[in-house]
Amino acid sequence: MKKELERTQNISISAIIFILLIIIGVLSFKKPVNVFNKDKNLPITPIEKQDFIINKSALDSLKSDLALVDLRASHEFDRGSLANAINIYTPNLLDKNAKEQLEDFTKRNKIIVLFGSDPNQANGAWLFLTQLGYKNVKILCASLANDSQNKLIVSDFQLEKPDQDYASFMAKVKPANGTQINIETKKKTIQFTKTKKKKTGGGC
């Protein structure tokens, strides 16, 4: 009987410790503030549809529906930017103020138009916000520059346009006699050994 009593006491102590641990775990639980969406196709879908780009001409036609976000540094923004644009420097996209502003635009069903000195500067920010779950985010396909009198010049940008027709260029410029060099054109066959993907940190 005595042994049974002792056993019960031990179980009680371990149960209390277990309960305490659960309580500490629950109290110290912190929900992650910024979480990427799980959907792998989230950035791929707009890329496939090619509807993540907005042209310079749309700035006037869709004026009231747009929320312009200048991603350049504040000193560049101060030199001049598009009318009604707000400034959020790319590294500050997760700041409280920036998030509040972006969420406000989303609530008001505005199309968030990101722009920098050229679309390449807005590329990363667009992918970042899209994967955080912001909808209606687009990139302005234009380049911004200040002229000698510090006046802002906005011009159209040719996105990913090849400088040349490379195929015809290569056909035209054939090697001179005797200088032909054989370049391997066979596709590399590579034996991949799949590495175990490291567990990425995340969650709490």
């Binding site: 950035p43 791929i44 990913e160 990425t200 995340g202």
Partner: protein
């Protein structure tokens, strides 16, 4: 069975019941905890830092040098469409259109440690997107060809002749690039920039200073 034994047994049972009840209540509480979305891949904060880093960019000169020296650790991935790839691509490049970058078959190219994977497109916009998507899902050893094929064309296949006022280093670089262009199949490279003025480089003046012939020591 004595009376005290019965009494103690009741106490033990009661304790067990209380403990069981507490545990059941706690487990019920866990069900009520707010559901939260787990992050897949790297954290947004880390992604934002990576996004600003220019370390992902590889220059055309570096790539040309790697291709000429047949660096086996380079794996070029053309993220343009299949048509553009078949028309013209860099030597030994593999075509994975951007929209197919995360398809399970293509992920094997990213999920490895042995190769430096270099994405390229006409400029570096789509290659950057491929890099950012791959980085987001935690893949490492990935790079972007700065300026893409346009930069490849303007610096390697058809390099601009330096100005006469440029440094000798620029001329050396130009000559290296011209040699690289020949390696990559450009035979008539000199005719491409025919409009460019030939630099008037002053011929090197060599002043010979006669050294005094040493008298040979002889004998012992």
């Amino acid at each position: 069975m004595s009376k005290t034994y019965k009494y103690k047994k009741i106490i033990i049972r009661r304790r067990y019941r209380i403990l069981a009840a507490i545990l059941i209540i706690l487990s019920g509480g866990l069900v009520l905890l707010p559901k939260y979305q787990k992050n897949v891949g790297i954290k947004p904060e880390t992604f934002l830092l990576n996004l600003m880093s220019p370390e992902r960019y590889i220059s055309t000169d570096f790539l040309a040098n790697s291709l000429i020296s047949k660096d086996p650790s380079i794996l070029l991935i053309d993220v343009r469409s299949a048509k553009e790839y078949s028309d013209f691509s860099l030597p030994n490049a593999t075509n994975i259109p951007l929209s197919a970058i995360l398809k399970p078959d293509n992920e094997t190219y990213l999920d490895q440690d042995g190769y430096k994977v270099i994405f390229y497109s006409n400029d570096n916009f789509y290659a950057d997107q491929a890099w950012l998507i791959a980085k987001r899902f935690g893949y490492n050893n990935i790079f972007v060809l700065k300026g893409g094929l346009n930069a490849w064309f303007n610096t390697i296949l058809n390099p601009e002749m330096p100005k006469t006022s440029d440094s000798e280093l620029e001329f050396q670089k130009y000559n290296t690039r011209k040699a690289a262009a020949m390696f990559f199949g450009i035979g008539a490279v000199n005719t491409l920039n025919s409009n460019a003025a030939t630099p008037n480089i002053a011929p090197k003046k060599i002043i010979l200073t006669k050294t005094k012939k040493k008298t040979t020591g002889g004998g012992c």
